[in-house]
């Protein structure tokens, strides 16, 4: 049976996250972007909504079950408020979900509860590398097995909270496959660089991370001796990013629609001109289309459908183009005012471009 109605529980979560996004994140977003600084209090408030905690079973300290669908619903609702804060609130997902997907029972029990039980702490992950031709399947960072440990070496980039992190999942090439390794932040040979300055998500602290023969015990390879399948990690990241792209695009759509209905031109409202009204209609259509693609991919992940990975890939491909177009249109509709930093649309446009480069920065 097809259905497009969230469960009552999901709806309650969407509503709660939506209120947080609108009342807490949105009003703080501009200043956070200008100051390149997030309020810890705000992050903690988002964390207390319990999106991640509710997607983990009791044995690992959570109070629910994993659901990709619930995850994308929450991610979209939160990103509607502000992308930087959403990525920050959800940064521990990058550590916990790979464990949940691929960890051995022992790894899950050892590492997940500490993250879940506590207040928000910067548990993070490092996938991206500073190379234009970056390919998550062909990493430059390598893992070398030496007796009972691994040596990790390479250069990572855009690692959230790297300077203050408790621990990371670091992705490296091992036996020609991409594998995740649990790496404590105080490991020797691990160095976080300067806070990175990017086109968008200014408020999110992102760092380069250098690994120089970082030595970790062999039991820190996710999944144990044989490692794990990397695809579910990517699929999880793609749907999370697609959902957030929908949230950002929806914010830009609502804002520019309201502006167009308010602003006068030649004796009528801007929105009464077909040139603008059609842009808005296209934006709304594309947003809804990508939302449905994302939902379907998430549902396929939950149902363990064979083509879930492929569908998630289609979703992120569509999302990357959609969010760029929609946020660009929003700036265009506000025109001169859209270019001014008094309005948030230019920020959303800068953040929108990021989705093409955020692989591994979000997971649900």
């Amino acid at each position: 049976m097809y259905s497009f109605t969230p469960t009552e529980e999901q709806q309650m979560l969407i509503d709660a996250v939506g209120r947080y996004a609108e009342n807490d994140l949105r009003p703080a977003a501009r200043e956070a972007d200008e100051e390149a600084q997030l309020s810890r209090k705000l992050i903690e408030k988002g964390w207390e909504l319990g999106v991640l905690q509710a997607s983990l079973p009791g044995e690992y300290g959570g109070f629910g079950d994993y659901s990709a669908v619930t995850g994308v619903l929450a991610a979209e609702a939160m990103a509607y408020g502000d992308l930087s804060s959403t990525l920050a609130v959800m940064t521990p997902n990058l550590f916990v979900l790979p464990l949940l997907f691929s960890g051995t029972e022992e790894q899950k029990k050892n590492f997940i509860p500490d993250v879940i039980a506590a207040e928000w702490k910067p548990y993070s992950a490092a996938l991206l590398e500073p190379d234009f031709n970056f390919d998550p399947h062909q990493l430059s960072t390598t893992a070398e097995r030496v007796n009972d440990h691994f040596l990790l070496t390479g250069e990572k980039t855009m690692v959230p909270f790297a300077a203050d992190a408790e621990a990371f999942v670091v992705y490296a090439k091992w036996e020609d496959k991409t594998q995740g390794f649990i790496v404590p932040a105080d490991s020797e040979g691990l160095t976080a660089g300067e806070n990175q300055r990017l086109l968008g998500v200014h408020a999110l602290p992102l760092y380069n991370l250098t690994l120089d023969e970082v030595k970790i015990t062999a039991d820190r390879l996710l999944g144990g001796d044989d490692g794990h399948d990397f695809k579910p990690h990517l699929a999880s990241s793609w749907i999370a990013l697609s959902a957030m792209a929908v949230g950002v695009a929806d914010a830009a759509f609502d804002y520019s629609r309201d502006y167009a209905k308010d602003r006068e031109v030649f004796g009528v409202k801007v929105a009464q001109k077909q040139a603008i009204a059609f842009m808005l209609a296209e934006m709304a259509t594309e947003i809804e289309a990508v939302r449905l693609l994302t939902w379907e991919a998430a549902w396929m992940i939950d149902e363990r459908k064979e083509k879930a990975y492929q569908q998630a890939y289609l979703a992120i491909n569509a999302a990357v183009d959609m969010v760029m177009t929609v946020t660009d249109c929003a700036v265009q509709i506000l025109a001169g005012h859209g270019y001014i930093r008094e309005h948030p649309v230019e920020m959303w446009m800068r953040n929108g471009r990021g989705f093409a480069n955020f692989t591994g920065l979000a997971m649900v």
Binding site: M1, Y2, S3, F4, T5, P6, T7, Q10, V69, F132, N133, F134, D135, P136, H137, K231, L234, R257, A260, K261, A271, Q272, Q274, A277, F278, L280, A281, E282, A284, T285, E288, A289, V290, L292, L293, W295, E296, W299, M300, E303, Y309, Q310, Q311, Y313, L314, A315, N317, A318, V320, A356, T359
Partner: protein
């Protein structure tokens, strides 16, 4: 709960209709296209017999009477979703031949939506007979396409005989010839009770085959969907019984009647979207099969800068096709669940019309000489697909509907 599981009955429909498409449509696809105005009788008779055997009379789901609806268990209806799959797969077979399917299309939908019980009996029963019967919607006029309020066909009441007298010219009547000449069918004619009343005066009327004063004057020659006839119909002092009017015969200030007629679009537009997606699906599958044959694999999951141009095109086609399909199924799921769906219905039509045009055009491009050749069907599908961005409201009209919807504007505020 959000779910994308195709219900079992829909899967069955998909399989059954695919078999029909493969056996009854594809083999004559080229021939029908090359011989415009020929009628695919074999397909028509088969569909008529098949529909009758399944107990159906019309492709459009009937509105249930309240008692009947109550009796049924609470399981939500999937009739429109089922129709979507059917239309998609028939159009996958051949979009032109699909439009020749007997047994109630747009005209019946209008009768089913706005007709009284008596009218439904009088007009819809004929589809259950031994011979295939067609119906059609006559809306467009030479001077009025998208702007249906500008129609000039009039309906005047002769109080002595209690008949309506229709005068005017209708063009682009899909299946008009089959409804009026080739079968004992009917057309639903849009006409004005009072040209000064504007929209408020517009009503629709059922004109049956063999009614004096109603003539098919022309068959159009078209870019695509050539198996489907597109007729011009002239109404000259055409007299029909008073009881053939759909809706109220009196004009009040409200445009309720007009709006009511427009509401049938909320169901029919996603169905046109489904047809578009069927054609696009055929093209996309052709491309995918050809690539497979050549040993070219699409590398899903690698970063975009590493994709070949071909891979990127195919991935884009797949994603956009699926996105349009999901909008369409959502619109019809809403219709099945009696939710207001005007916005999503028009969104699906906008998106599917565009996507189908782009996919079929791209497929011809990607397949090179093979795509352009009339030896294959790709070039035909490209011609067929285009109609879906035009009829049942052009892409632009549907965009306008979406725009008014999201802006909360009336027609007077956003023209």
């Amino acid at each position: 709960m959000i779910s994308f599981e195709m219900p079992q009955p829909l899967k069955q429909t998909q399989n059954v209709v695919k078999t029909v498409a493969e056996n009854m449509m594809r083999p004559i696809s080229r021939e029908m296209d090359e011989n415009e105005h020929e009628i695919p009788w074999e397909y028509i008779k088969f569909m008529h017999t098949a529909t009758k055997a399944m107990g159906g009379t019309s492709m459009a789901p009937e509105k249930e009477s309240p008692e009947k609806a109550e009796k049924k268990e609470k399981r939500p209806s999937i009739n429109y979703q089922n129709l979507m799959v059917m239309v998609e797969m028939l159009s996958w077979g051949d979009a032109g031949i699909y439009l020749c399917t007997p047994g109630g299309m747009l005209g019946s939908a209008a009768v089913a939506a706005a007709g009284t019980d008596d009218q439904k009996r009088r007009f819809l029963k004929r589809f259950q007979g031994d011979k295939p019967v067609f119906d059609a919607m006559a809306m467009t006029e030479p001077q009025a396409g998208s702007d249906t309020s500008a129609i000039l066909t009039t309906a005047e009441l002769d109080e002595e005989t209690n008949e309506w007298i229709l005068n005017g010219e209708k063009i682009f009547v899909t299946a008009g010839h089959k409804a009026l000449i080739d079968s004992d069918g009917f057309i639903v004619v849009w006409a004005s009770l009072d040209l000064d009343a504007g929209r408020a005066g517009i009503r629709s009327f059922v004109v049956e085959a063999n009614t004096p004063g109603c003539k098919v004057t022309k068959l159009e020659e078209k870019l695509g969907i050539r198996a489907s006839d597109t007729a011009s119909v002239v109404l000259q002092d055409c007299r029909i019984p008073f009881a053939n009017i759909l809706g109220s015969p009196t004009i009040d200030k409200s445009t309720k009647g007009y709006k009511g007629a427009m509401e049938t679009f909320d169901a029919t537009r996603p169905i046109v979207a489904a047809s578009a997606l069927g054609v696009a699906r055929a093209s996309l599958e052709f491309v995918q099969e050809k690539l497979k044959e050549e040993g070219i694999e699409i590398r899903y999951g690698i970063p975009r800068q590493k994709l070949s141009s071909l891979e990127r095109e195919v991935i884009e086609m797949e994603a956009q096709w699926r996105a349009a399909w999901l909008l369409t199924v959502k619109a019809l799921w809403m219709a099945d669940n009696k939710m207001t769906n005007a916005k999503v219905a028009s969104m699906s039509k906008v998106k599917a019309g565009e996507v189908a045009s782009k996919i079929t055009q791209k497929a011809v491009e990607l397949m090179g000489p093979i795509g352009y050749s009339r030896e294959n069907l790709l070039e035909k599908w490209m011609r067929d697909a285009k109609i879906n961005d035009i009829f049942e409201g052009t892409g632009q009209i549907n965009k306008l509907v979406v725009a008014r919807n999201i802006l909360g504007y009336r027609g007077s505020q956003l023209r």
